[in-house]
């Protein structure tokens, strides 16, 4: 009954979205206020219906209604409640339902917070979002119905994939989808602007915070995924250049370029067409990601099902959405030209360099991800493009970006002087270079580590210089005014990039990984810590049984910590799973994972790792995400603070960029 209700709500949402996608567009074209107004109420109704549909599916999981096929395949009565709730997005159908619900949620948010946009523009934005919604709802209804019945109902469900029974996995997909799908907002703003043939200051003021918020979600989603892979895939890696990871990383790179190009468009009116193109590309890459992951083109832990109908549907949808957006762009972009002139030495140039680097990186990742698929499709051989390729192209493109990050925020708009910048930067540069040299020659650190640390310090120095610039000659209340949330957010996010670089540098360069075979009582020495294996014992869990090892960590002969790595066998799917034990720390993680039993005297193979600064790899992106949210909350984006500008497009032109 609840299942049918959810299905019905989904069908109704689809009908509402269809109306929302057509009527307001016609209304904006024919100038009929009543038709335009449909968009707002339809967006609310659509979200309500999608919410009901989503809750219905969640309910069938909570009560273990195995007459719903999707529940039977992905849940089990012994599954803990929190994983029953997260199991909703544990496989294909449910995660698409989550995607469509989040999409309706973004549409709803735009409808609620866009009261100061002028009516025609608002109607167009909401209609574009609804048209994307229609595609996904149709996809669900035609190829991936999560409410399909399975009769007679089995007595017990097949359980959730054990890999997904982890707190990181419970939070990773919703965050990631908030980001992925959130890029629909700048996309819709871009398409609506193209239809109108005009971009004004109000447009950028509107698009920027929405983009930044979506980007912040995407950042934290990717971060959670990496953290999950580290603790759950068992072997201590934090990024694998897996095609599915790349699918989320490409939109992130383009979205990062977009928030920077939006800064130029907002402040100086330049790069308008480019900004629009990035907004279109960002969401297109999200859709491409959905296609790659959902079509089964890629086979990995994320590709739940291989169903050609699904792949074909998304591919067709992809072509329609991206194709029509690009055609519209080609037709209208020329109208958008304009903006302030700028000198070679100016913040605009540096931000442009940032954009070129980020987009080039995204393109190389795209190529590495699609090339094997292309060759395979052409029957030209089976290849795999692994981490060595990505490392080889990614690092050289990121180094100039890191260098740029240190000083570009200090440059002035329009025209700056190399001499002025040099005077400002020579002291910090000297300090950073000396520190790196000291690291390279005075310690066992390699050149690469010294360089990586140098880049991280350089970024931190840039952030400090930026703060000092802002606060010079200011006291009391004016300090608070000088440090707007936008500036603080930017500084925090940039510092986060430095923290991330430091984390990657040290984990990669100074981390120690030892695969060993230990009998009970034997120890292994890793980076000054002694790991003594004290044997294993059987340890029952709620829906698995585990073999649980005890590893006593000693430092200088003193007990330091005890780790319990597990080898679990989940009862329903009979799948073995390695549950690593981690002693986390701000400066280092100690990591032990059990391999398998060998020999007769109770020995096990195991991997023992010392990972310095590995937490910084996630701390950095967390700082970026918080920085993004802070920046989006800046005073100048508050709708109530600027109703006039947005409501009066005519006045806006007069105040256009100088």
């Amino acid at each position: 009954m609840i299942g049918e209700l959810g299905h019905l709500a989904l069908i109704l949402a689809f009908l509402v979205a269809s109306i929302q996608g057509v009527v307001p567009l016609l209304g904006a074209w024919r100038r009929v206020p009543a038709w335009m107004a449909v968009a707002v109420s339809a967006a609310r109704a659509q979200f309500l219906l999608m919410g009901i549909s989503y809750l219905c599916l969640t309910w069938t999981f909570v009560v273990s209604d195995f007459s719903v096929s999707y529940v039977a395949l992905n849940s089990n009565t012994a599954l803990p409640l929190v994983y029953k709730i997260s199991a909703v997005w544990g496989a294909h159908e449910g995660s698409m339902l989550l995607w469509a619900t989040v999409l309706a949620g973004w549409g709803f948010a735009v409808a609620v917070f866009s009261t100061s946009l002028h009516a025609a523009f608002r109607a167009r934005v909401l209609a574009v979002i609804a048209l994307v919604s229609v595609g996904f709802q149709l996809f669900l209804l035609l190829t991936s119905n999560p409410f399909e019945r399975l009769l007679p109902a089995p007595m017990e469900g097949r359980d959730l994939n054990p890999l997904l029974q982890d707190p990181g996995m419970a939070a990773h997909p919703p965050m990631l989808y908030m980001g992925y799908v959130g890029l629909v907002v700048p996309f819709a703003f871009a398409v609506a602007a193209l239809i109108e043939g005009r971009i004004d200051l109000a447009w950028t003021r509107w698009t920027r915070p929405w983009t930044t918020v979506a980007w912040a979600f995407l950042t934290s989603g990717i971060m959670l995924g990496s953290w999950w892979a580290y603790s759950e895939l068992g072997w201590g890696g934090w990024w694998f250049w897996d095609p599915v990871e790349n699918a989320s990383f490409m939109p992130w790179l383009v979205a990062t370029a977009l928030i920077h190009s939006l800064a130029v468009t907002e402040q100086r009116g330049a790069f308008r067409a480019w900004t629009i193109l990035l907004a279109i590309s960002g969401f297109s890459l999200s859709l491409l990601g959905a296609f790659l992951v959902r079509s089964g083109v890629l086979v990995s832990v994320h590709a739940f099902a291989t169903d050609p109908a699904r792949g074909l549907f998304i591919l067709a949808f992809l072509i329609v959405v991206i194709g029509s957006a690009l055609v519209l762009y080609a037709w209208r972009a020329a109208r958008l030209a304009g903006g302030g002139e700028f000198d070679v030495c100016s913040r605009e140039t540096f931000l442009l360099a940032n954009n070129v680097l980020l987009v080039a990186t995204s393109a190389t990742v795209l190529l590495g991800t699609l090339y094997p698929l292309l060759l395979d499709a052409l029957d030209a051989g089976k290849i795999s493009v692994g981490p060595p390729y990505f490392d080889a192209v990614f690092v050289p493109l990121m180094l100039p970006l890191a260098a740029l990050l240190g000083f570009a925020p200090l440059a002035r708009w329009k025209k700056d002087g190399w001499r002025r910048l040099w005077a400002k930067l020579r002291l910090p540069l000297l300090v950073v270079v000396l520190a790196s040299l000291a690291l390279a020659f005075g310690t066992p650190a390699s050149w690469a580590m010294a360089a990586g640390t140098g880049f991280a310090l350089w970024i931190a120095a840039g952030v400090v210089l930026g703060l000092r610039d802002r606060l010079r000659h200011r006291h009391g209340a004016s300090v608070r005014r000088a440090l707007g949330r936008g500036f603080i957010g930017m500084s925090l996010a940039h510092l986060g990039a430095g923290v991330f670089i430091a984390g990657v540098t040290w984990t990669t360069g100074a981390g120690v990984e030892r695969d060993v075979r230990l009998a009970p009582g034997e120890s292994v020495e890793v980076s000054g810590y002694s790991f003594r294996f004290d044997g294993v014992a059987v340890h029952p869990g709620p829906n698995y049984r585990a073999v649980r090892g005890t590893v006593q960590v000693l430092r200088d002969g003193e007990p330091y910590s005890v780790l319990h790595p597990e080898k679990r066998t989940y009862l329903v799917q009979e799948e073995p799973m390695t549950e690593a034990a981690v002693d986390p720390g701000f400066t280092r993680d100690l990591y032990v994972a059990l391999g398998e039993p060998v020999g007769t005297e109770g020995a096990w193979t195991m991997r023992v790792q010392y990972k310095p600064l590995v937490r910084w790899i996630w701390l950095g992106p967390l700082m970026m995400a918080i920085g993004g949210l802070l920046a989006a909350a800046d005073r100048r984006y508050r709708p109530l603070a600027r109703p006039v500008r947005a409501a009066a497009p005519a006045a806006d032109k007069a105040r256009a960029w100088g």
Partner: protein
């Protein structure tokens, strides 16, 4: 002008990086039959996929292990030193990457098995199909892709 110049520089740099990186870091996939037929290069890294032959897994001292991979028509011996993935077991489809030595034995640097009992890497499934089509396939249990 600045825009165009920077764009051209960026694209050129990225393209040359990609070409260099592609040339050095692509791994080609070979089936055991292809290796037996001498089609795979020795001395450079390749990927081999197949089913782990029943009864072929042998542990040595420490972490050494050896096993054989089959596509139904031919087998390849593999040596590996390290920890095997959770789903490595006899009869399971896996992919090993490494370098072929003189005796056409693969010295593996990495062994991959996927986290799904029914999962068979697509390359492995296709290699088995190809071997079956060529008629040399011994009868084998049902396989799901």
């Amino acid at each position: 002008m600045i825009f165009v110049a920077l764009l051209v520089t960026g694209v050129t740099a990225a393209t040359s990086l990609v070409i260099a990186a592609m040339g050095e870091n692509m791994l080609y996939f070979y089936s055991p039959s292809q290796i037996r037929a001498g089609e795979a290069p020795s001395g450079s890294s390749i990927r081999v996929g197949g089913l782990v032959v029943d009864g072929s897994v042998q542990r040595g001292e420490g972490l050494e292990i050896s096993f054989a991979l089959t596509d139904g028509a031919a087998t390849v011996d593999v040596s590996y030193a390290g920890i095997l993935p959770d789903l490595f077991r006899e009869g399971q489809g896996i992919i090993a990457s490494g370098v072929l030595n003189a005796g056409a034995r693969l010295q593996a640097e990495e062994v991959l098995a996927k986290h799904d009992e029914n999962y068979m890497p697509p390359e492995v499934a296709e290699a088995m199909e190809a071997a079956k089509r060529s008629g040399a396939m011994a009868p084998h249990g049902s396989m799901r892709q």
